[in-house]
Amino acid sequence: MSEHDAAPGAAAQQVRAFLERRREQIAQRWADAPLFRTVFTVSRDEAVEASKAVADALAAVAASGRLEDITAAGYGTVREQLGRTAAARARTGCSPARIADEVAALRAPAAELLRAEFPDPAAPRAQECLLALALLMGTLRLVVMETALSTGEDLIERQRQQLLEATTPVIKLWDGIIAVPLIGTLDSARSQVVMENLLDAVVAERARYAILDITGVPTVDSLVAQHLMKTVAAARLMGAECVVSGIRPAIAQTIVHLGIDLGAIVTRARLSDALVYALRRLDVEISGPVPAVAGRP
């Protein structure tokens, strides 16, 4: 309960009665407001119905007296509808600020109707009711924004999950040789996916050699190095030797300064060098010119 409830409940209840009594007129006016008019373009009746649902929700919230509570139960019935409406506006290129303005624009028509209910709109009681309505409409604006934002968060979370899956393919380069091109930030969640995919592929392809290529990893810090070492150790337990390739000069210098000891891991500058290494160890005969192996005679 906030300080605004000093003239408790009574004003809120009067606003509730007003919303119920004038439901039809309010809905007719809201249906012409940009928020509803631009979303329900097929039929005006739809816009009126949507507006009525919002008016009913506000009446329910006013009845509960929780004018400033965005979690008030009354909003439950229109939350999804408002979310869809806001999303539809966002799809047409509406900025969040513009959508918030459009929700705010619903207040004026309703306030006008409410003012007309009083013989003297300047009377304290009328002012209290108008204030209650203003609070209610302000909260509605927050509800719409919150709903729109949480929809966006869901989307971001789904895309994050898809990204985890999409960016870690395991490629078979030769009988017994697989490669994983690592791209982007190698955080703990990504490393876990990489390790699982790699170990599965070691079994499926009966791989003796697994190449981890880090050309596409922008930063190799101690956590990334630790993830690499763990992956190499796990693959080794399953009988596959790992080769880490794609170590750029700047990364190599940084690793040395950081003090990370990759001495136990076979590393090569380029993916092709790693492949040549693995092919030779598998006694595969390579005919034709072999690319020069960096760092090795």
Partner: protein, 148 residues
């Protein structure tokens, strides 16, 4: 050392893994804008990654302040990692290679120190931790070489 005229500090929150990625991205941009070479950029970004993760994991989150600085003709970038966490009880121990309380390699603080030109830790138990590092542009005289 003074803040370069006409360049304001950038303040970034550090509260999640996503913030770490964004902080690295911003440090990379700031370093590239100042004309840092690829090796220096990589070193600074890696140091920032270690220190920002410390802020997140040990300090419970905080913020990073990126400020371009100047000392005479020298130009550089100063990064301050600020948290209000429990602080570091034994700084000497925390700076030791291989010492870790977070299950990592124990190279975050000590490794970051080797990657930059200047390195300072202000901390007291219960009073939070601020780690400030400075990287000077190569080819310029480094004002205080080997500080740390």
């Amino acid at each position: 050392m003074q803040t370069s005229p006409g360049t304001a500090a950038t303040i970034l929150p550090i509260g999640s893994d996503a913030d770490l990625a964004w902080a690295r991205h911003q440090v990379r941009q700031a370093a590239a804008a100042l004309g840092f070479g690829l090796v220096q950029q990589t070193k600074l970004i890696t140091a920032a990654s270690e220190l920002a993760r410390n802020t997140l994991v040990h300090g419970g989150g905080g913020h990073l302040e990126i400020t371009p600085v100047a000392h005479g003709k020298a130009r550089g970038l100063r990064l301050s990692f600020v948290d209000t966490g429990p602080g570091i009880r034994d700084l000497e121990l925390a700076m030791t290679d291989g010492y870790t309380t977070g299950g990592g390699l124990g190279l975050g603080l000590s490794g970051a120190r080797r990657l930059v030109h200047e390195f300072r830790v202000d901390t007291r138990p219960g009073g939070g931790t601020t780690v400030t590092v400075v990287m000077w542009l190569a080819g310029m005289p480094v004002p205080r070489p080997g500080t740390g």
